[in-house]
């Protein structure tokens, strides 16, 4: 696992998470210790309109855990369908922000998301959660 890849639909939110929340929670040293990176579409040169199936395939092939907001129809090439027909145990899970709107205004909720993202980064890096297609954050 290389780290987390922020989807276009949470790119702005992730910046806040990465620049403000995670440092405030004091978890950056842990993530740095694991050598995990955070990247955006821009960093990897991924087209902003890549379809779900291609994105998931690329993420798995390159070892990125996709962090996204899943608010789209379940078409044949949707993320939901791709996870259904292509995911196998051992693949990296997809992290899905459960409530982006709440993340935007609820400080406690945002902190919970940040804590869970940090925890999941850590756990996935050590081989956990490879039996899950998708994990919603916050997790509980």
């Amino acid at each position: 696992m290389q780290g987390l890849l922020a989807d276009v639909n949470v790119q702005g939110h992730w910046l806040y998470l990465e620049e403000r929340l995670l440092p405030a929670l004091g978890v950056l040293p842990v993530l740095a210790a694991l050598g995990l990176r955070f990247v955006t579409f821009n960093d990897l040169g991924i087209p902003r309109d890549l379809n779900d199936r291609a994105l998931w395939t690329l993420s798995q092939a390159q070892g990125w855990v996709l962090f996204t907001e899943n608010r789209n129809k379940d078409g044949p090439d949707s993320l939901q369908q791709t996870l259904f027909d292509s995911w196998r145990e051992g693949h990296l899970p997809v992290l899905t922000l459960a409530n982006k709107a709440r993340f935007e205004y609820d400080r406690d909720y945002a902190a919970k998301v940040a804590n869970d993202v940090a925890t999941l980064r850590f756990d996935i890096a050590i081989g956990q959660y490879r039996d899950q297609r998708r994990i919603w954050v916050p997790m509980t």
Partner: protein
């Protein structure tokens, strides 16, 4: 002062939009001249007030064509304040307007506006609660160009952002246009196109939105929730161990040697394998 700032002008335009929807529902569109012609006939005073307001430029010099300027400003109002979807532009005829001085009829290139199921009067800035026109098509209407559907639902062309991504923000009264643009890396035109799509296809969008909400409400399985608690505990142990380890390293002369010239102390951190090995050697601490 713009058109949107004058309640009587807004009221007249809303009445005109509603009349356009009724009069031209069969063909599915109206153009700016249709609306101007209607205003000329039914709200002539307002039309003249609007035209008069554009007789002079900001620097005080006379405007070249105040009627054309007024037509364009009305088009902007339709697009930005009433979220009318522009299909294309075409040449059409404007009737003679009773202005001072009188203005003969003429042709000009004007915007063609889509007629949809959204009620044109009343609360068109929020989700519509008005009645639908009788010829609503089965297929959702797509604003020309900016919105397409690749199977993920209506999506802003060139991005992975669907109207469902934006809907919660568009429904949030505290989310300004700037905020939505900035956080989603979108232009105002792209956000306007998404808003127009939602307003033009409220039933389709809301039913899919509810399905998405339902899927999200299900959340994680009980197993994942239980595992999350364990994960958190493990993570916190690692964090604490790392913190203690760092303090120890800093207390030794060798520690400073690990730091590079830029103050980067990443080399002083243990690898996960080191940490794991230490944890295994002290199993009682993990229970």
């Amino acid at each position: 002062m713009g058109i949107a700032d004058n309640p009587s002008w807004v009221q007249a335009l809303d009445d005109g939009i509603a009349a356009m929807r009724q009069a031209h529902a069969d063909r599915g569109w109206y153009d700016s001249h249709d609306l101007i012609n209607w205003l000329n006939e039914h709200s002539n005073m307002v039309l003249n007030e609007i035209i008069d307001s554009y007789r002079f430029r900001r620097d005080g010099t006379p405007a070249h064509d105040p009627i054309l300027t007024a037509t364009r400003q009305i088009a902007k109002f339709l697009q930005h304040h009433r979220h009318q979807v522009q299909l294309r532009k075409h040449i059409s005829q404007r009737n003679a307007i009773q202005t001072v001085p009188p203005r003969a009829k003429g042709n000009a290139v004007v915007a063609v506006w889509q007629i949809s199921s959204v009620a044109a009067t009343g609360n068109v800035d929020g989700l519509p609660n008005g009645s639908s026109v009788s010829n609503e098509p089965d297929e959702p209407r797509m604003p020309a160009g900016m919105i397409h559907d690749r199977g993920r639902g209506p999506e802003i062309r060139g991005t992975r952002i669907t109207v469902y991504n934006l809907l919660p923000q568009l429904l949030d009264p505290t989310a300004t246009e700037d905020f939505i643009c900035q956080v989603n890396r979108l232009t105002p035109e792209q956000v306007a196109a998404a808003r127009a799509y939602i307003l033009n296809n409220p039933d389709t969008v809301l039913s899919q939105h509810l399905r998405i909400e339902e899927r999200m409400a299900a959340g994680n399985s009980p197993q994942v929730r239980e595992k999350a608690r364990e994960s958190r505990a493990t993570f916190l142990r690692f964090k604490e161990w790392l913190s203690n380890r760092e303090k120890e390293v800093h207390q030794t002369p060798q520690a400073t040697a690990i730091e590079d010239g830029g103050g980067n102390r990443s080399g002083s951190f243990p690898t996960f394998r080191e940490w794991l090995a230490e944890q295994k050697s002290r199993p009682e601490e993990r229970s």
